[in-house]
């Protein structure tokens, strides 16, 4: 998404362009990336031409701990631990 506003100020000829990218989302890490950039196309006589654009990127991530598969593997370890206790009792 991008839009421009021409003629900032009453008599100016400056062009402001702001660009916001579509947030990128990934399901596994619940990750969003937002990028917003703004630039000014100056008219004649800009004393500092190097500071006419700015971009910010914010990444938002969530960090769920375990997937269902990992939980199932862990559950199997617990069941095995319990079965091992049971076997020991039977041997005693």
């Amino acid at each position: 998404m991008s839009w421009s506003s021409v003629r900032i100020g009453r008599w100016g000829t400056t062009t402001l362009t702001v660009t916001a990218t579509q947030p990128h989302y990934t399901g596994s890490t619940q990750e969003y990336v937002h990028t917003v950039s703004a630039s000014v196309g100056s008219g004649i006589g800009d004393p500092i031409s190097g500071n006419n654009s700015q971009s910010t990127q914010t990444t938002t991530v969530g960090v769920p701990m375990l997937t269902l598969l990992a939980l199932l593997i862990l559950g199997a370890v617990f069941i095995w631990a319990r079965w091992r206790m049971q076997r020991r009792e039977a041997e005693a």
Binding site: T56, T58, V61, G62, M65, L66, L71, V77, R82, Q86
Partner: protein
Amino acid sequence: MTGPVVNKARRGVFLRSLVCWLLLYAVLLTIYNGTYHLTREVLIGKVQVAPASFLLSWTLPDVDIRYDAASIQTPALVLQILRGCDGVEVWAMLVAAMLVFPMPWRRRWQGLVWGTLLLLVANLARIVSLFHIALTRMDWFDIAHGVIWQGVMVLLTGAFVLGWTNPRRVSAEREAFS
């Protein structure tokens, strides 16, 4: 009693114990999800976000680290600690096992305390390291989060449970305190 009868009885005890473990696990998760809006501020904010932010401020002194009830932020990165990020599913599994599996009460309570501390410290290390990775090498984040830390959590918890329920140690403690 004859052998097959004894075996059948033991199998019954084993299965009952597993059913109790699963039921208790389900009850704990239901309580957690049902009261999440009440406990979120403590379980996420005070127990996870605040200590992790402190550790991050300490390890990243030049970065402006801020936090709110459920996220840690820099100008370029927001790490959200949501439901499921706090390790309660694994903790509930551990608590249910410690309460249901046969062992002396003293060992049970010690297992609960040490297991809780282990999961808490491991999850803080996970959050802090993932924040560092997201800040410096975002392309490593997926594998660090999805493969490495999941593997570490499964290995740590599995090793703890196998060690704590080791039948020889349980028997030795039972005999020592009987």
